[in-house]
Assembly symmetry: D2
Homo-oligomer: 508 residues x 4
């Protein structure tokens, strides 16, 4: 992508508390609702990333020795600042990602909840103490920080996913280098600046913008002790094995293809309403989006289709910033290439034999003809083997798969390469329990379409949706961002105590 | 005590979100630095207390069903308000209690830490879940609120001790009736109002001022499910048995007589400095004050005395509000009767044969001749059996007991009726561990003179310093303010899942 | 009751590892299946109980200092011995209590699970450790034992309820005095002897048989730090307030009147089968028995009645020891007076207007005409206010209450004075969740009629079914049988480390 | 190594409950005390390993659904069997590894403690439950097993290290394939057979003997979900990156070079005695052995040397099986090549300039001239950069490094590539705390030379001593051998509950 000379705003890095630009290489950032370039983002060189790592390493010792309660209070203050500056952050998200403002606010809110959880650090960092592990021997564990840690985050939640990572990392006593998505980096950068305003010392959190060069520098530097990643599965796999090869601790979250099972006894109106948001919210560009309905019985499938068609007909698609008439329901896709890719999936679905009930391909948004808008699409008769069944589309494309039994539905899900989220709609306790117990998926909703765990639980998929053993945020993040140290202690006798006992009368 | 007609300010109650006065009975509130009446406090009748309980009962169901995260956020907001309004609160504390402003700020800060801990509620309220407790059987525990709870708090920490109680109670989903000390009720009342400003619904927290009539009403009302108390041991004992007789859950914290052991290898300068604050801070009116030094060996005793006399000579005693020249180190005692009582203990100490090294009885503070000022007193050769050894004085009276061995020191402490706090000064790991392991005291300091646990641990003494089984604030408070509910669940088979499996092809 | 001179077996006490008899006062023990005296049990005098307490106090210090892992291993060994000697123990239970052998084995099995849980002590006794609670300050909690503890247990689970208590108490480092029910004391005594065989040092566990004299001695002795009780509500209330008055930590579990709600969508066959055991198992002499069905809708009531009548007709009632033809389903009631009392309740139910569908009053068991046998009784149209609705009968008497809605059923339950256990039969997730969330009962079953928590959760009711704040066995028992000690530690600088740094080259 | 035709005993594999031999490739197993071949061990082919994996996969579903309590009881029974068969197991260890019997018994005891911890599974597998995560929404976590897991273990603790792994893996519900060291495989195989005797179903635990072919098969098979490894750092690194490349969860424990710091105030007699065992126990073939003393001050160094030389002179080196005169203190090294390697290190130390105070190279054990015996060696003036300082020798070679300050000692340790264990000898609380806080080592002893965590804590080093984020055994093992599943549940309204409420009177 080329440099547009008419646009002068450059998005730089945050290193050691200062905004730094290295403009040798830049890349345009687009407004997806207009197709216009809104800024250029600096792409960090190896040297710039190394400067960020050096800054993090320098800030680490003092921060590590800052009591957890004090570190936690920076998080409490950041929370207040994020609430005060929410509108500004949300505007940045929408301008670069395209999602509607309300959706951006929801994203930010979820991110704030992770900051809130990080503020519980004094409770979360408690170790375990055993008196008399042996006679006169005590033993306890401490969860000490790792040192410099890093995070690499995706475009689809530009504010939230960084907040999954670095607040927990820094509150545990680490310093951090964040590499946000180069497509929509502004909100993460602003939030990092607010963290400093809240009291985070310079260098504890650094932000570098960049591409593969930055990523590989982070993965190969021995000063970086741990890397968290969220993105697609091929990259997650690369990060995991590359980091591991360099001795790093890695958690890498990848793609998803989430199925919602609708049972014959489901509350259909509720399921339809839930699925509208789950499929089309944020244009389907969520790793917890639900692009597949597995209807148990044709009757269920037909009712769901009736409901969905009615709702789709009411959807408003347009710029995310529009606020008149209650605003839009869905904005544009994130980039032109992604728009083309999603449209190609719809073409492929038709070619592969699925029934396209609602076709969003022809949509034109008046006054925004260059925006990357695609209308909602709905397929019936989607089947395993079709590309629209197997692959993660990350667009507003919902497919219906028809099965006869819950067992059949579960086999589909368990055989799929991804295992991020799933959901069942039913009123029946037994069906829900059987499903949640046996399904090979990490996050399960019972009548909850997007079962994103709350901030005090942890987020993570199974199978090829996550590489590593600890999940993101919540309790698992404490363990990921700390090293266990176990201390065993026995004091020798005949010290001051016994000495005092026997020698006193005479000698003192 | 009589009603002073020249003073028109009346301190009322907070019931159902409104300030309420029932002025049938009142009692004067004094400024201990001047001896003047500053206000009258309403003494609640049975009817008033019952109105407060009724308000709490009415507010309970909706508050109970408010998700813990939302309840926690009220605490986060309250924390911000308390920090913003700290100066005002601290002025109220000093005006009614007498302690110096810096000390009052320290008290408030400790209280805020409890509010902070309460804001971790979503983490703290987690129950335990067991999949397959039996085949197809799950079992889990929930910690549900009790309903209406109550707290009765002492004069010596008018802001902090209430904050030990109600934030944890309400964040667990209970409603609360607070009866603060009638001697210095204003700061607790203001804080309760700030809680409402922070979003606490009316009636969730009520404040009633009063005396034994109010206390007994709380103890005898079947709607009150739990009572927390901090005060003297005889009252604590009464509260515990009276509440128990009425089927209430009770935790009652009583008196203390904390000993500090100084070992021959101690850092004496450090011990002297620590003991100055521990003995004379807040005029010794703290349940964690340390009025007794147990010196192991005469050499230690003599060195400690040298150091203490030097430091005492530098102490400034005067009004707590004074801020010139860095302010005073110690203010007046809380009331005239208490002043007389403490002075009588000093007289008794002399009569019983202890050596009064520093005599604070003659102190006159210029311009504040009617204030309840007593200078710091220091006794040597204090011995078990003397009233100044056995009883809680709650004044600026420090005594030194001489022993020959740590064993002898520990026997003294273990034989004393109280077991609130204690401390050892030593460099020796073995001495510290032996002491902390075997001493019959609930809170133990190793070179820490006032080992008040941080807010994320719990506060409580042993022996006759605490009646009940759970300590105050911290993790124990979660358990005290909640009831365990254990659910065991098995779903019958042959429901929608199996039904669906067999009947589909034909019937749908 | 009189002494039968033909019976020579005397059941004594276990004190300091020895069987002791004080036969000044004795009481006969009956075989309820025959009405014959089988032994006499010694009733401990004050002096005997004090000897047991003294033995426990003497054994305490060394046991307290035995590492938790070693204490836990005594429990592991006891578990093996209990399994090896199960038949013998079960024979003792049936001979004195009357329940059928299979039921006695179930009881013992549940008790063994508590021994098993006690063997996890090293994990359960972990305290919480906080590094850098302040700069250079560490703080941690230890859960230290109380000293001498005691338990008073009921006749209905002579082996299991003692095993709820003392294994957890002693594995936490306490010593213990058990006073089992004087009606069926033999199994508890044998198990205590097996504990010594497993390695429990003499005096750590003592057993005294006795009556109110023994109970009051335990409640009034200052050496006894905590008392656990299971029995009827009036006695529980007495124990709680009397213990509290003497400064003891008390948990007192009382009576119950458990309701099972059957919803219109329930699996009726399953509910009928479950209710047969819940109502008539162990002759209804269980605090978790379910003597009331609340049928939502007349259709449900009628179906339940059909099913129950069919099943009742098949029940075999006779001596618990009988093993031919698969044994009996139900044995005799525990004593003659209890038999008379239960029968009087049935008479009262008829008089109060309930419909007696099955009348067990006329039952005669051939060859056991003097046994205390009462056949299963079934009432329809039971209503609040009737004595058979309000009071705990503890007999084989099942009543059906008819209501129209779940709300109505829940109001009944929530208004009842007891809140021990309850259960709902339904397939519907929403109904189950609404019920379990809002019902004021401590142990809730969803399609599980007797929701006795597994040993790694805790047992306890709400309202007047439990006095105290911690439940029996499981995690709560750890907290009940230990005192929290919080240690705060800071080491003075300029010790050997810095000393070494500066002075080494020259001075050493 | 060649096949010795005179030896007919072959050590095979345990697959699906059966002993299987594939003798296409074998390798001799030696008795290190005699240098004689005692058996041949089968080296598994790819097909054999795949058969083991298939067996594990087949056994998994039923075992996964077995309630944790039942799985735990297999561990309880195994513990009893291990105690009963301890002598036999210990003989196998000594015969193949060479360590003295007492040491082998210590190893087995430690292993049994892990079995004991595994038996706590019902407590350890509890998830976290949150009521009202949102209005009417509950959320909880379950820790579900992974499926087929594997372990690869070293020669130096042939019984213990396997017991670190598979008991925790299987008690969490996984099945397991163990590949023990091919040098001393017999004890692990016998223990696996005892596990089946204890009730472990066939296929849940399989043992394959083999070499790199077996290891690579385990690392490349997609059915193997997780691999635990203990061995040298180069192999650990290979395992970690190779497993990660194949998407496996891996924890790989590598080498060590543990330093013991002796401070000027240490109890020297105690330190000497502790170091004798730490340096020479099991011939130094322990990853927690302490081959380096860092003496703070020359005075300390000299005193330690005096003490060590005296003790070394008393040491008895000979066959591990010898029991007369209290047995030997140290046996032979494990293999001839290893013997040569260790001797070469001693040669190198001399060549590099360290002072060899005690030379064990010339040792001949009478009657065992072909055994791999090396006497204890002691070096003074060991310095960083020397091979005997940098590298893991795994032999009876102890070196003394002289430093002037604790800071200097700590810098040495922190700069070393390994960070497994370390220890400080001091009486001073401050020195101990400063050391344990800031040292970059995972397991720290304070006056405890081998700070191997007890079984209810976890084992793991830092830096290049461990690859992965979770430590071995203890609480971390639960997390390593399970996947977190988070369930979020909301039930739709208008189901049977409300339906029942409104429609009853008329319709039923």
């Amino acid at each position: 992508m080329q440099h547009d000379k008419n646009v002068t705003r450059t998005i730089g890095h945050l290193i050691d508390g200062q905004i730094v630009n290295d403009t040798a290489r830049t890349q345009p950032v687009f407004n997806p609702a207009t197709g216009q370039v809104s800024a250029h983002v600096a792409l960090a060189s190896v040297a710039t990333v190394e400067a960020a790592i050096a800054s993090a390493e320098k800030a680490y010792p003092a921060w590590r020795d800052t009591p957890p309660l004090k570190r936690a209070r920076v998080m409490s203050k950041l929370k207040v600042l994020l609430e005060q500056r929410a509108d500004e952050i949300v505007q940045l998200i929408t301008a670069e990602h395209g999602k509607v403002l309300g959706d951006a606010m929801g994203e930010l809110q979820r991110g704030i909840e992770n900051v809130e959880y990080a503020s519980y650090a004094p409770e979360l960092l408690k170790g375990e103490h055993s008196r008399n592990a042996g006679p006169g021997i005590d033993s306890w564990s401490e969860f000490q920080p790792l040192g410099v840690t890093a995070g690499i985050t995706p475009f689809n939640f530009p504010a939230m996913v960084p907040l999954w990572m670095w607040p927990m990392a820094v509150v545990c006593g680490n310093s951090f280098v964040l590499k946000p998505s180069e497509r929509d980096p502004s909100s993460a950068l602003l939030i990092a600046q607010l963290a400093q305003e809240a009291g985070l010392p310079p260098g504890v959190l650094n932000v570098v913008n960049g591409d593969k060069e930055a990523v590989d520098t982070l993965l190969h530097d021995p000063r970086v002790k741990a890397v968290s990643f969220v993105g697609s599965t091929p990259i997650a796999e690369y990060i995991y094995s590359e980091g591991a090869k360099h001795g790093q601790r890695v958690q890498a979250l990848g793609g998803a293809k989430n199925h919602a099972v609708v049972m014959p006894d489901a509350d259909i109106a509720n399921a339809v309403s839930a699925m509208m948001g789950a499929a089309y919210g944020s244009c389907g560009e969520r790793c917890m989006a639900v692009p597949l309905i597995v209807a148990v019985g044709d009757e269920v499938a037909d009712k769901m289709i009736d409901g969905l068609k009615t709702e789709i007909a009411k959807m408003k698609v347009g710029p995310g910033t529009q606020t008149d008439n209650g605003g839009n329901d869905m904005g544009p896709l994130v980039t032109k290439p992604h728009f083309e890719k999603v449209k190609a999936y719809v073409d492929a679905g038709v070619a592969e034999g699925a029934t396209l009930l609602v076709d969003g391909r022809g949509l034109k948004v008046k006054g925004h003809e260059d925006g990357y808008f695609l209308g909602p699409c709905l397929f019936d008769h989607v089947k395993p083997g079709m590309s629209i069944y197997q692959e993660e589309i990350f667009g507003p494309v919902l497919g219906i798969v028809r099965v006869k039994t819950l067992e059949e539905a579960m086999k589909l899900i368990n055989d799929h390469e991804y295992g991020n989220g799933t959901c069942i709609f039913t009123r029946d306790g037994e069906a829900a329990r059987y499903f949640s117990d046996h399904i090979l998926v990490g996050m399960v909703g019972i009548n909850v379409p997007l079962p994103v765990p709350v901030a005090y639980h942890s987020f993570g998929g199974w199978k090829r949706s996550l590489f590593g053993d600890l999940h993101a945020y919540g309790p698992d993040a404490v363990r990921f961002y700390t090293k266990r140290k176990t201390i065993t202690q026995r004091w020798p006798s005949a010290g001051v105590r016994e000495g005092a006992m026997f020698s006193f009368p005479s000698s003192r």
